[in-house]
Symmetry: C2
Subunit: 288 residues, 2 copies
């Protein structure tokens, strides 16, 4: 008997395709004398922030996008932080702003999130962009990770219209926005979470299953309908300190029709989304 | 054979209970020298706006809440409308503002929605409140109708935790916000719409079915699992000009454990929600 095997849908080809199109776009914008620029605002030096920052800077360079990092001390006061953020926000040469979150606890994100201009808010910090994602308003900026999920599904021609998408996780950075984006593509969307009864049963209804729950290899083959598309948003460390997703890849690959790996899946696409958003912000801000 | 019969859960007892508690609340606030007040901003004289306005004014009176209607001509310019809305917004005696929507097409809601202060925005016009509903932030004001749905479910002790709620409809005034509110109560939530494949089958998974689709009696017994709770948000006219919901009540009542009627269901609770929101806004604005 031949084992059926899911197609492994990697992030790199998606990221490459996006980058390719951005390079052309940036050249065209530069020919008008405008240089698209991302400014990253980082408080402290969290290792995972630094890792993402390196990837983001590399991607911007590849795309021809200017970049700057504003590094602030981990004990910066709220007042000082706000002053710094306002400075970045008012800088005419900055088109996109990425603020690393979560921020240190003494900084009140619920105040800070109102300061960043929605037009420069390329990773959905501002409530205006949260609202736009909910409204399905395409002038907004959804967070990078759920957008990366959608880019992957689009790149690999996954049909969403009328299909049943099940999202495990209801966070504001992944679960909820990816649900809204799937809904916009006319999928029927189910949002599950830790309190869901019979989670595997609910997930087995999915034509497209998006796991964004943050628990190493929690999603096994009992969650997957034969032929489902499985997208793994998780980035976890297992007991042996191996990087792994929320999906038990080995158990699920044979049941799915397509499956994203971890690493080399969704995570590989986020910085390209960020670059795309910077270009979009630059066009909006300059009316071009 | 005895016909099994669903409990008909009416809106009036819910509205009465909310009103009762508001009356006490308003008395307490008035004893501090503050008079909670709703200002309604209406453009033109659409009959359904007028009907709702009458109900809202009556409810405010019952609750001891001050009220005012700013009636504006249907051909008011965007500039003039914005000036009037700003005046209401700045009026210190107004705590809650209701703007009837949809507005005439020459008025740009996407501009106007940013003018109303989130703290006075008792029916979720402002993007800040759209974001707060998505975030599950209870300082915000969800729209009246989805809140009325939640009040009914709470009043009749419907257990939501871990249960499967299916919402038919993905509008910004009902489908999406009610999905977020159900999610906050730890229900598993499925959002369906016109493109959903096998809609009756998806709905039959529901422990709680919320119909907000706007088609007379579309939801029949093939949509309802035995013992499900059915909430009908629809207000439609059938061919014979009878008021009816999205649910075929006669066909579904025997299959459901509880079902809201139309009229006398969800629609009876919305003005009480509005009154509750005015009181909440008044407390927030006065820090009491």
């Amino acid at each position: 008997m031949k084992t059926k095997m899911g197609e492994i849908i990697k992030g790199k080809p998606v990221a490459d395709a996006i980058t390719e199109s951005i390079i052309n776009d940036v050249e065209e914008i530069k020919s008008k004398g405008i240089n698209p620029k991302l400014t990253i605002v980082r408080v402290g030096a969290d290792p995972s922030d630094l890792a993402y920052e390196r990837g983001a800077l590399k991607r911007m360079e590849k795309c021809g996008i200017e970049k700057e990092v504003v590094e602030l001390p981990v004990d910066i006061s709220q007042e000082d932080f706000i002053r710094e953020l306002k400075k970045v926000n008012e800088d005419e040469n900055t088109h996109g702003i990425l603020v690393f979150r979560p921020m240190p606890k003494h900084l009140d994100e619920d105040v800070i999130k109102y300061i960043i201009s929605p037009e420069k808010d390329v990773d959905c910090f501002s409530p205006v962009n949260v609202a736009k994602v909910t409204e399905g308003d395409e002038t907004g900026f959804p967070p990078a990770t759920p957008t990366a999920v959608m880019e992957i599904l689009k790149h690999y021609d996954v049909d969403l219209k009328g299909k049943h998408a099940v999202v495990i996780g209801r966070s504001l950075v992944v679960g909820k926005p990816v649900s809204m984006l799937l809904l916009k593509e006319n999928a029927t969307v189910t949002i599950c979470h830790s309190r869901t009864q019979d989670l595997p049963g609910v997930c087995r209804a999915a034509d497209v299953l998006v796991a964004a729950v943050g628990r190493a290899r929690m999603v096994d083959d009992t969650y997957v309908k034969d032929g489902a598309v499985v997208v793994d948003v998780g980035i976890n460390m297992d007991e042996d300190n191996n990087l792994c997703g929320d999906v038990d890849f080995d158990k699920c690959v044979g049941k799915s029709s397509m499956i994203t790996p971890v690493p080399a899946g969704v995570g590989s696409v986020t910085t390209s989304v960020l670059a795309k958003h910077v270009v979009k912000a630059c066009r909006i801000l300059n009316n071009i």
